[in-house]
């Protein structure tokens, strides 16, 4: 007996296994970042005063654009598969990967500038929160890039053997990637603007 519903949907739930799996995983991610945001709130409410204009809004905004862009290219990578346009899919997936890379490079310069100014995590509650939240988010970016690299490289072979499963996997990667983007959409105002 093989494991059913790895590709096709189970009639009564209308879902393939992976779809439910990835969403459950994202649910746990929500709680992970939830705890961090909750800590942020507690610390901020308890703090005598909270710094403003600590961070470079323009860098943050640039990164927001980059991530939103990458979300669009990601969903396009999946849509092109749906339309059986392999070439476009490759293009968009690689584009997403590159954008993710650019995001990290940008982040690196941001970190570096803080570091050189001696603004390290131990310096203040705000910086501690800033580095922890963005650092964890950065790790999620790296994770996403690894997955994409796999589907650009070795993972791509699956397309020949089983296009629908490949399409599903790209969709799930997308779901994860959009979540990472979504987290940033909240991180940006919370850390850079408020």
């Amino acid at each position: 007996m093989n494991i059913p519903y790895t590709v096709e949907e189970r009639p009564d739930t209308g879902l393939p296994n992976g779809k439910l799996g990835i969403w459950l995983f994202l649910a746990s991610e929500v709680m992970l970042f939830g705890a961090l945001f909750s800590t942020y709130i507690i610390l901020r409410v308890g703090a005598p005063e909270w710094p403003h204009g600590e961070l470079n809004v323009w860098l943050g905004m640039a990164n927001t654009f980059i991530l939103i862009g990458s979300s669009v290219t990601m969903v396009m990578a999946w849509a092109s598969l749906k339309m059986h346009d392999w070439g476009k899919h490759r293009l968009y997936l690689m584009l997403t990967f590159v954008l993710a890379g650019v995001f990290l490079v940008n982040k690196y310069f941001e970190y570096a500038s803080h570091w050189t100014r001696g603004e390290v995590p131990s310096h203040s509650t705000f910086l501690a929160i800033y580095f922890t939240l963005t650092g964890l988010h950065g790790l999620h970016i790296v994770g996403g890039m690894i997955v994409m690299a796999y589907f650009i490289g070795p993972g791509a072979k699956l397309w020949q053997r089983n296009p629908d499963q490949f399409t599903n996997r790209i969709e799930f990667t997308g779901l994860y990637w959009h979540f990472v983007d979504l987290v940033w959409i909240f991180l940006f105002p919370v850390l850079y603007l408020l």
């Binding site: 093989n2 494991i3 590709v7 296994n17 459950l24 131990s122 296009p163």
Partner: protein
């Protein structure tokens, strides 16, 4: 990768694709078969054995502690000499080592012993069989969760051998103490491994139960054990991440010098700490208990599931109030997310929130009462077979009863003033986890051993194991209530020797000590039974217990893919002694006779 406009199979015309984890029915090498196997049964057994070994280890730590409590400052016999200068010079235990043993006993028992055995072991092995699935939904992920758990275990064990020893701030690891104490870093890293493993596991469990149920197996036909595992998986999925986050924050506090949990103006041993400050130590407690209360239900729900299976099978009648059981367990799971601060009444909680948490705590006790009542009433009109698993399952009921009932005075803030952090708490939760959960796990081992190995465990040894453990374990934990009510604090290196109000309570420390070591001795028949039965146990067929649930329709032990033919379910899980049927059990997988 060349560009292909056209591609095969747009509509998946029943191309039966090998799913995640390509199956290799053809013989696999030793490594892929026994070590890095994708098969849920192998992984389940890996989990179970590792969990058992950790239980034994955690218990050993405690047997050493109980010596110090019974005879404070006396050299530890036998092993004392080996412990080393920085733990027990001349065999006499140091306070810091006592604290390490306490913290690691708690951590190991909960996160490395019971959860892996109850969820990783029984859940992995039994649940897919009971829902008629060929395997878990994500076999590779399943293997990963085991090995990540294994890494976590190794990290925890290794932490004993670093300079300064293992974590020593209690399994609760309250900052600021945890942040400034040695050993904590490895504990945190280990926890992050364990949490990651549990998260992967729970995703897998939920998906499997929702997606891979056999034909005809509707939710209200699920064995109660599967329901318990289902709710448990949700608890793990949603309650664990906050502790992971908290763990990361405490790591930052230790390694990056941040002060998430460190307030301003700390003065440690006369010297002000040079940190930014403005942190909040209570936030850790919130994040910790946000996990740790649901966690305690993670410890009990699978146990209740096992007990229900065993009781239904050995009473030869349907469980009383199956629906009530299901609703209660779901409600229990839901409520367990909003009671956590009943562990924090003494942190200065005001009237509003204490009223809230006392109320939720009282509410959550009701479904437990319902569950126990249902199980007790299931015995009425039964034809009880006192098999070895049944002995343990029956003992579970009053033992959980004691543990649960003693939770009530703790749940009321004013009475908790007196009982908080005394041995009453220790007694309370050990009655639920030790003679409760541990006994249920024993029941499960005796019950499913034949399915896993094709052989039965010896009943004589089983009986010795049961009666010995039952008596000893009560002698261990019952006196703790007396000590607690008398005001003896927990986590006391000298067992509260110095305090006047403990004078009359110290004698029990000796009783408990001997009972604990006796309990240890009575595990030997079990360990022997466990291993010898693998070789010499009586061979059994598919359904030695004449049970009704799906796992008994598969061969013992089941081969790869579990079932020879795709199972179909025709009825509820516990159709025993059905009126008008010849035999006293009608399996779920037995077609209606036309």
């Amino acid at each position: 990768m060349e560009k292909t406009g056209i591609h095969p199979g747009g509509e998946h015309a029943h191309v039966h694709v090998h799913g995640a984890g390509e199956h290799h029915e053809e013989e696999l090498g030793f490594w892929r078969k026994y070590v890095f196997s994708f098969d849920h049964k192998v992984i389940g057994i890996q989990y179970a054995v590792t969990g058992l070994l950790f239980l034994l280890f955690g218990f050993t730590l405690m047997m050493i502690m109980r010596w110090q409590l019974a005879y404070p400052g006396k050299p530890i016999p036998l092993i004392g000499a080996w412990l080393g200068q920085d733990r027990a010079p001349m065999g006499i235990m140091l306070p810091e080592f006592y604290n390490q043993l306490g913290a690691m006993h708690g951590t190991i028992m909960v996160f490395l012993g019971v959860v892996p055995l109850a969820v990783g072991g029984f859940g992995n092995f039994v649940m897919p069989l009971q829902i008629g699935a060929p395997d878990m939904a994500f076999p590779k992920l399943n293997m990963m969760s085991y090995w990540v758990y294994f890494l976590g275990g190794v990290t925890m064990l290794a932490s004993f051998f670093q300079r300064g020893g293992a974590a020593q701030s209690g399994w609760t690891s309250y900052p600021p103490l945890a942040v400034i104490s040695p050993g904590q870093t490895l504990w945190l890293v280990g926890m992050i491994f364990l949490i990651t493993s549990s998260l992967l596991g729970s995703v897998n469990f939920i998906t499997t139960i929702v997606q891979l149920r056999a034909k005809g197996l509707s939710y209200m036909r699920l064995p109660f054990f599967v329901w318990a595992q289902f709710v448990t998986a949700f608890l793990l999925l949603l309650a664990f991440p906050p502790l992971e986050a908290a763990g990361i924050l405490q790591l930052m506090d230790r390694l990056a010098g941040t002060s998430f949990f460190m307030p301003s103006g700390l003065v440690v041993s006369g010297k002000p700490l040079t940190i930014a400050g403005e942190g909040n130590p209570l936030m850790w407690q919130h994040l910790f208990w946000f996990l740790a209360h649901p966690e305690v239900y993670v410890l009990i729900l699978p146990a209740m599931g096992i007990v229900s299976e065993v009781i239904a099978n050995n009473t030869r009648k349907p469980l009383w109030g199956y629906k009530a059981l299901v609703y209660s367990v779901v409600f229990l799971g839901f409520m367990s997310f909003i009671v956590w601060a009943h562990h924090m009444f003494m942190t200065g909680m005001g009237t509003t929130m204490s009223a809230f948490f006392q109320t939720t705590t009282m509410i959550i006790s009701i479904p437990s009462v319902v569950i126990l009542t249902a199980l007790l009433l299931s015995l009425w009109g039964a034809s009880i077979r006192f098999t070895t698993p049944m002995l343990f399952a029956l003992a579970f009921l009053p033992m959980f009863g004691i543990g649960g009932l003693t939770g009530l005075p703790l749940g009321l803030a004013p009475s908790d003033i007196h009982l908080h952090d005394t041995y009453y708490v220790i007694g309370h939760f050990h009655y639920v986890v030790a003679p409760g959960t541990i006994f249920a796990l024993f029941a499960g081992i005796y019950y499913w051993f034949p399915k896993a190995t094709g052989r039965k465990m010896n009943d004589m040894l089983g009986a010795i194991h049961f009666w010995g453990s039952f008596i000893c374990i009560n002698l261990v934990f019952m006196p703790m209530f007396i000590q607690g009510l008398g005001g003896m604090n927990r986590r006391m290196y000298d067992g509260g020797l110095q305090y006047a109000h403990n004078a009359g309570l110290l004698k029990y420390n000796v009783v408990i000590g001997f009972a604990a070591w006796g309990l240890g001795l009575f595990q030997l028949p079990f360990i022997y039974n466990f291993f010898s039965s693998l070789k010499w146990g009586a061979l059994v067929d598919r359904n030695p217990w004449e049970a009704t649930t799906l796992e008994w329709s598969a061969p013992s032990p089941p081969g790869h893919g579990n079932f020879l033919t795709e199972p179909i379910v025709y009825r509820g899980p516990y159709e025993y002694s059905m009126p008008g049927s010849v035999r006293d059990f009608t399996p779920q997988f037995e077609p209606e006779k036309a």
